[in-house]
Subunit: 334 residues, 2 copies
């Protein structure tokens, strides 16, 4: 594709920073780059391809001449500024949850539904991190055997909640090791040496008892795979891991798949790496996934409680495939 004028909104955040690194590493064809952030980042400068670039404060007129804007700011920022950008003829790839379930906005994981990019009207949404890594594994199984129901429990890394959350994990861990009480600011309860069954860290729960993160996995899975008949239940849990979301996934299919068949299907699936060698204690691990772009799957076995289901363990870097990489892959489709 021809070189593009690109803007990165939320460039100073954890995901924004990963976006810049992914754009560099994938040699994305960039004519010009504009780094945008909120008032708080005024005066900051960031490195990109060896140049030092000043961060500009995001405003409605920031998008003149910009062809692709990758947003990694909050939902509120996206709600306000993505339409301005789109009106200017810019295509927005948005990493927030603001537009994901909008019927006029494609929700895209390139390995799964790249062609949905075609019907965009200026905004394309990047899915939730936990959903992305699950659907790249579910889609090839769905094509082969029709996925009917999914029961997923997540083990989500702290970096998904941003830099302050990572700092809190470190401070709390040091406190506990010194026999002191951990202080909580970002998380509602201590995350060091604990598991918190609440994501996000505030305003998480809706009337049906699910968290908004859980409902993202339920609803986004159907939209991305393009089949409303897939039923999903999720329990999303924060664990004291820096980077790399892990997921325990039970998949009921219409046609029975053996573990061997599933492994063969997944070995050929784009973006998926099968790590499943039990005698050698090989299976996906969060710490191994950090910094890698693939989604790793292992512990694949036939569910002994169901005539046609599989259990598996899916791991991916939540900042890369779960956020920055997937967004840049969407931009590459344009």
């Amino acid at each position: 594709m021809s070189s593009k004028n690109v803007a990165v909104v939320g460039a100073t955040g954890l995901v924004g920073n990963h976006m810049l690194r992914v754009l560099e590493e994938r040699d994305f064809p960039i004519a010009s780059i504009k780094l945008l952030a909120s008032e708080r980042s005024r005066g900051r400068k960031l490195e990109f391809r060896g140049e030092t670039i000043p961060v500009e404060v995001l405003a409605e007129n920031s998008f003149a001449g910009v062809e692709i804007a990758i947003f990694s700011a909050g939902g509120g920022t996206s709600k306000q500024f993505a339409p301005c950008a789109a009106k200017n003829g810019c295509v927005v790839v948005d990493n927030s949850s603001a537009w994901r379930m909008d019927p006029k906005v494609p929700l895209v994981v390139p390995e799964v539904n790249a062609k949905d990019v075609e019907w965009h009207e200026g905004i394309i949404a990047n899915p939730n991190c936990s959903t992305i890594q699950m659907v790249v594994v579910l889609k090839p199984l769905h094509d082969a055997a029709k996925v009917e129901r999914v029961v997923v429990s997540t083990y989500q890394a702290v970096s998904g909640a941003g830099i302050k959350a990572l700092n809190e994990l470190e401070a709390q861990t040091r406190a506990v090791l010194e026999g002191k009480a951990p202080a909580c600011e970002v998380f509602p309860h201590p995350i060091a040496f604990n598991c918190i069954p609440q994501i996000p860290q505030s305003d998480a729960f809706i009337d049906n008892g699910y968290s908004t993160e859980e409902m993202k996995m339920v609803n986004e899975t159907k939209k991305i795979i393009g089949d409303d008949a897939i039923r999903v239940t999720a329990t999303t849990v924060r664990v004291p891991v820096h980077t790399g979301h892990s997921e325990s996934v039970n998949v009921e299919t219409k046609t029975k798949l053996t573990a061997e068949q599933a492994r063969a299907i997944l070995a050929k699936a784009p973006g998926v790496v099968v790590q499943d060698d039990l005698p050698n204690q090989v299976y996906p691990l969060a710490t191994d996934s950090a910094g890698k772009g693939e989604t790793f799957v292992g512990r694949i076995r036939e569910d002994i409680s169901h005539p046609s289901a599989l259990d598996m363990w899916i791991v991916s870097d939540n900042l890369l495939k779960g956020a920055a990489l997937n967004a840049v892959q969407i931009a590459e489709l344009l």
Copy 2:
């Protein structure tokens, strides 16, 4: 009951130590106590009710005059010595997996199947820690609505693997904080800031792809609740938590229960505490459970992927209800 001559086998271990504390706290009627351990613990002394008691080396003749022996040693030790003890007229409460699935050995969680103690032939087995906390919650739901299938994913604390494992977590955590590589001896992979989908840490997997820990949850659940029709699939995962196992549990029932009905049933269930106040971010947490004897349940909701299922989050201290406390409760039934 009249005071008993009691022996604790494996008294110097993490669970053995908790056994002594539980015997003290519950004022167990003890005429005499004998502390037994392997050759490695020769010469050690332990405190019990203010007295310093020398640890004796376990031998076949250790059980003369002993009425109740609580074993918390490895499966090999139990296989060898529990029959010797039973032959001497001693009743063994065994915390290893050696006897659990033996049809002549009752497998008991006092809140669930206390009456199974009656048919013992000298040995009573204490179930796996992950199973105990799950069945105290499942049993009242089974009585009310018949549990048909369970999909469980665990978040298991490091203390379940013993003192060396806890030391490894601490050493690895310090190493990572200092930017060094974590060294592994107990666990096959780093546990600090990671999730390992393998329990136990060696010889874990069987031919069907499940781990032995997972199969314990499958088989022990049926035996304790006394219904072979209950189908269970489990994925058991070690997380960097000191004490307190957490479980994400999906429960399919024959009769539909609302979340409110389930909460009402569990609020009255023995040994269970409902912690489920989402607006105030109240749900069970591993760190809160440590040192407590109850099993805590929250995040109770109707599964939107199934006409008659519930999702819930179950947490308990794996060394207490999951091991020492349950064993002492069994001894109290005698």
